[in-house]
Amino acid sequence: MHFDGEQTIKTPIEKVWAYFMDPNAVAQCAPGFKSMEVISPTHFKPTLSVGVGVVKATFTLDVHLVDLTEPNHAAMQAHGMAAGSGVDMRAAMDLTSESATVTHMNWTADVNVSGTIASMGARLLEGTAHKLTANFFDCIRTKLEGG
Amino acid sequence: MTSTKTQSVTLSINGQEYTANVEARLLLVHFIREVANQTGTHIGCDTTSCGACTVLINGVPGKSCTVFAVQVDGAQISTVEGLEQNNTLHPVQQGFFEEHGLQCGFCTPGMMMTAVALLQRNPDPTELEIRQAISGNLCRCTGYVNIVKSIQYAAKQMREAQADKVPVAAGAEGGAA
């Protein structure tokens, strides 16, 4: 599944970048976030509980930040397993300064889900994934603009 | 992991009481089939879609695969094994026999329990009402035509038996008032 979006954040670009580089800050917006192991500044393992339709699964994701070009471009690769389900995700974000206090973000995400969640929740999968992804970026924007 | 927590539950199944210590997650259908050893109620799916597990819970049809035994602690459960009384088949059972309403027999207990509940609330259903009532019970063998006929047969038997029971109006017969 492929999703993309854009938004304008009333926050300077450096602050936006710093936020994304702080896994604990980002984790606050991750759907169903339960806990996280931070292995390095670019490698961490969050545990998320996510549901699609009647199937709820607790995933442990192995996340790597890659392609870091401060403050404009960052990408993320994640691979995760839950009992009977697997998820692979690659997301990327491009930031540009619209002004000293306003940042424009373009993001893309490619998500592959396999197993029980995909086969039991097939009809709802795309909608749910889209919603979770959109919520995530909305949440980030809110947190950035708020504080 | 320590020993699993259980709690006591008592169910009356076809008039007989069964008390057991069960896990909270034990499905009613498994209580019926494994604890009470009544294997007439069957399991046909895992998404509450097929109705093979239909029983009456306090007279109301319910899918026993989607109910925990502890949820219905103290309830009266009716299953297919309780339909025959005094060596006489229930009219619904008789209908299914006469009208060839079953082939492999796997969906039949659930189908009959739904029919019993239907006829209790609607003694003279139309064909559409019968089909609506059994729309939650899947059958792969019969194509439903003879199931509808079986239920119509039972409905007729039950209405006639009821008519026989209706007391004659007071004073209509000669004799003491």
Partner: protein, 782 residues
């Protein structure tokens, strides 16, 4: 004279199976409980194609109640990680290093309780390295296609190529043809989804060294032989019991890995092991049906005479060729595709390919691919009718094989035993009021209302089969019956076929009742236990009445022949002075001098002639001389809602001819059920996969079985054209309706929309599909 009526052939005897089913006293596999029984549940792959890097069962094994976790490595050590398939391929029981379809069995957990086994499954951690799956069979032969089966010597996804008919003769006709019609058809993957899923209870008795397995199987003897060959346990020490089966439809013919793993588990633990799959496991991993990509051409004269047929098919077989076909027929009986028509030539080609999907192909009541064949020819004939502006009924009458042409040699090599297609279609048209419907359709069309009439005149081919061409893994496809008559005139019949709802305990008793003149109440039929039943090939592909039914009649006649001599002895006449009339032996010309089978039976044990063996029994293994060819004419009327695209079946008349009928009530029930399983793929059911190989219909929430609301009130009628070679002229009928119905419905929908330019629609014809067509044609209602 017998006072109790015999009620043999042709009687709608109420079923002997019913008393236990109606009381909830059936004995299905999940009802079997043995002392010390353990439970098995299976860890399944979320990926359609992946390497297995590691399996960590430690957390599962640490759970109290979990006794063992079996993996491919464990089976491999015993040489059991792979098993042979019925088509000469091999299939993984449990993988050692890679999985090849989503929901593939990866490990098995053995536990003391059902729920603990499921908990154990959730605790087994498998590390996968996902690989790109091959999901589109049309890409299977691409140079860069993922290789599904690196274990095979030939590093290709191509399994086999199969042909029938005469390519040169067919090409010659096409070159000269005045009219050629072409269609591409896709018949999607579907799943039988019998209400009972698959499972077994495997029990090893280590004292007596005997393996007993209760199994949802349609062919217990074949299973016993295969298990003996693979396990090296001698066959007389294996007992396969097929108890009450909650629907088979072909889905319970294959050997599923679960059966084998449960067997290994009982052999190693010494405890009975129960394995019952969930519905979602059943849908996601068990044997599918159809999945044929077909390209067909029909050559005809301008006057509508059909001359030749050319069919090319791509068969998606999933990751293993485990279809349950007779071994010489990788594409089943697909070459029946010339149908009920008098073609001059035909050429049929099928290529099987591997994909990363579960294996199978011939489940779902298809008579070994006859559903695919009939759908093809019936759609092509309608396409030709549309192109030539001919009425589809008239075009069929023009091209039918005529009654006097039987036995008929088809261009693909079949000898149809008997048939009368014009009579069946005439009756169907009469019953439905065809002429009036066409008038109504014209009026409705003028008002913009969408109504369609679809016809299907099919020829089935069942009763596999003669030993010169038919075998399963080398075992010839005869079938058997063993009959023993007791002194007091009742009988026990044991047969080699296995009912899953077809009512054999009643119908086979009726055969014997008819042949021996014993009341049907006095005859018990047993089946499904390999310790007692004579060797049979099982029940599927509508073969029971043609093969085991014939064996039952022939065995009965052997008994009757011996009975004749006992009767002669009792009546003090010569055997040739007797005739079998009124279900008894009568002296010719002196019918009052008679003796019944009940009297003869008693004499067989108390007063048998000197020099003759006592007792009254016989066995027959019947090798059918040919297949049988049931046929029918179906007409379907549909109304289409222009606002939603929903297709409503207003009426459906099914005229079936299955030769002589044993029990009309049971035959009608088979047809009702078959029609419903024909409507389902036509309008509701399909199994599809996304680009990652994820099944999109993994549960009954998404795989839509017909309920009593979608299913119309089927109307049935019959003609009777007996099979000339069958002992009592019967043909078999279990699958006819599933074969004949889908094209009747598809043809009706195309007929409803043809004035909008529609010439073909693939099944399933969902409301969304129809709505898009209406929208594109400007005919949708807002």
């Amino acid at each position: 004279m017998t006072s109790t009526p015999i009620r043999g052939m042709g009687h709608s005897v109420k079923r002997k199976e019913d008393p236990r089913f109606l009381r909830g006293k059936g004995n299905y596999v999940d009802d079997v409980k043995l002392p010390g029984m353990l439970y098995m549940d299976i860890v399944r792959s979320p990926y359609a194609h992946a390497k297995i890097l590691n399996i960590d069962a430690s957390k599962a094994l640490a759970l109290p109640g979990v006794l063992a976790v079996i993996t491919g490595k464990d089976l491999d050590a015993a040489g059991l990680a792979w098993m042979p398939t019925l088509m000469g391929d091999k299939q993984m029981v449990l993988p050692v290093d890679r999985v090849v379809y989503q929901a593939q069995e990866v490990a098995a957990v053995i536990a003391t309780e059902r729920y603990i086994a499921a908990d154990g499954v959730a605790l087994v951690e498998v590390e996968y390295e996902p690989l790109t799956p091959l999901v589109d069979p049309k890409k299977a032969m691409d140079a860069d296609a993922p290789l599904v089966r690196p274990d095979r010597e030939d590093k290709t996804n191509h399994i086999w190529h199969w042909e029938a008919g005469d390519a040169a003769a067919t090409d010659a006709i096409f070159q000269q043809a005045e009219v050629v019609v072409h269609e591409d058809l896709y018949i999607p993957r579907i799943h039988v989804c019998s209400i009972e899923t698959c499972g077994c209870v495997a029990s090893w008795d280590r004292v007596n060294e005997k393996l007993t397995i209760y199994m949802t199987t349609q062919a217990p003897h074949v299973i016993r032989t295969v298990f003996s060959l693979v396990s090296k346990i001698p066959e007389h020490k294996i007992r396969i019991i097929s108890p009450d089966i909650g629907g088979g439809f072909g889905g319970k013919v294959p050997v599923y890995p679960g059966y084998v793993i449960a067997t290994v588990a009982t052999l190693t633990t010494g405890h009975p092991i129960k394995w019952i799959e969930d519905r979602s496991e059943n849908l996601q991993a068990d044997s599918f049906a159809r999945d044929y990509h077909i390209s067909a051409d029909l050559a005809a004269k301008a006057d509508g005479t059909i001359q030749a047929l050319r069919v090319k098919t791509l068969a998606d077989h999933g990751a293993f060729d485990a279809a349950a076909n007779p071994s010489k027929f990788p594409a089943g009986l697909f070459s029946i595709v010339t149908g009920s028509y008098n073609l001059q030539a035909a050429h049929v080609e099928v290529d099987g390919v591997y994909t990363n999907k579960p294996s199978g192909g011939v489940a779902y009541r298809c008579s070994f691919r006859v559903t695919e064949a009939v759908h093809t020819i019936e759609r092509m004939v309608d396409s030709l009718a549309l192109q030539l502006h001919r009425d589809p009924a008239a075009l069929r009458f023009q091209n039918f094989i005529q009654p006097e042409q039987f036995p008929y040699h088809s261009p693909t090599g079949w000898e149809y035993d008997s048939g009368n297609y014009p009579a069946a279609l005439t009756l169907a048209m009469d019953r439905i009021g065809y002429a009036d419907l066409r008038r109504e359709q014209a009026e409705k069309r003028a008002r913009g209302e969408l109504m369609g009439i679809g016809i299907s005149t099919f020829t089935e081919i069942v009763g596999a089969g003669p030993s010169d061409t038919f075998d399963i893994l080398g075992i010839k496809m005869f079938d058997s019956a063993e009959i023993r008559v007791h002194p007091t005139g009742s009988a026990i019949v044991r047969i080699g076929v296995q009912s899953q709802g077809q009512g054999h305990e009643t119908t086979f008793a009726q055969i014997v009742a008819e042949e021996l003149g014993l009341p049907v109440e006095n005859i018990t039929v047993e089946h499904g236990d390999t310790d007692t039943a004579p060797y049979g090939l099982g029940t599927y592909a509508s073969r029971s009445t043609p093969t085991a039914g014939a064996a039952t009649a022939v065995a009965s006649r052997k008994i009757r022949e011996k009975a004749r001599h006992i009767a002669a002895h009792l009546l003090e006449v010569g055997p040739d002075d007797l005739e079998w009339e009124n279900h008894q032996f009568q002296v010719k010309g002196v019918p009052s001098k008679a003796v019944t089978m009940t009297q003869i039976a008693f004499a067989a044990y108390t007063n048998h002639p000197k020099g003759m063996e006592a007792g009254l029994e016989a066995v027959d293994y019947y090798d059918p001389p040919n297949l049988t060819f049931p046929f029918g004419a179906y007409i379907c009327v549909v109304d289409i809602d222009r606002g939603t695209g929903e297709v409503k079946i207003r009426r459906f008349v099914a005229v079936d001819d299955c030769g002589n009928i044993i029990n009309p009530m049971i035959v009608e029930g088979q047809i009702h059920g078959g029609l419903t399983m024909g409507m389902a793929p036509a309008l509701l059911e399909a199994i599809t996969y996304d680009e990652n190989g994820n099944i999109q219909q993994g549960s009954l929430m998404d795989y839509l079985l017909p309920t009593a609301m979608e299913t119309p009130a089927w109307e049935t009628a019959k003609t009777t054209t007996p099979s000339p070679h069958h002992p009592f002229g019967a043909k078999g009928v279990g699958e006819s309706a599933t074969v004949g119905a889908p094209p009747a419905i598809a043809n009706a929908v195309v007929d409803a929309l043809s004035h909008l330019g529609v010439t073909h629609i693939d099944i399933p014809i969902t409301p969304w599909k129809v709505y898009q067509i209406l929208e594109a044609a400007g005919a949708a209602e807002a």
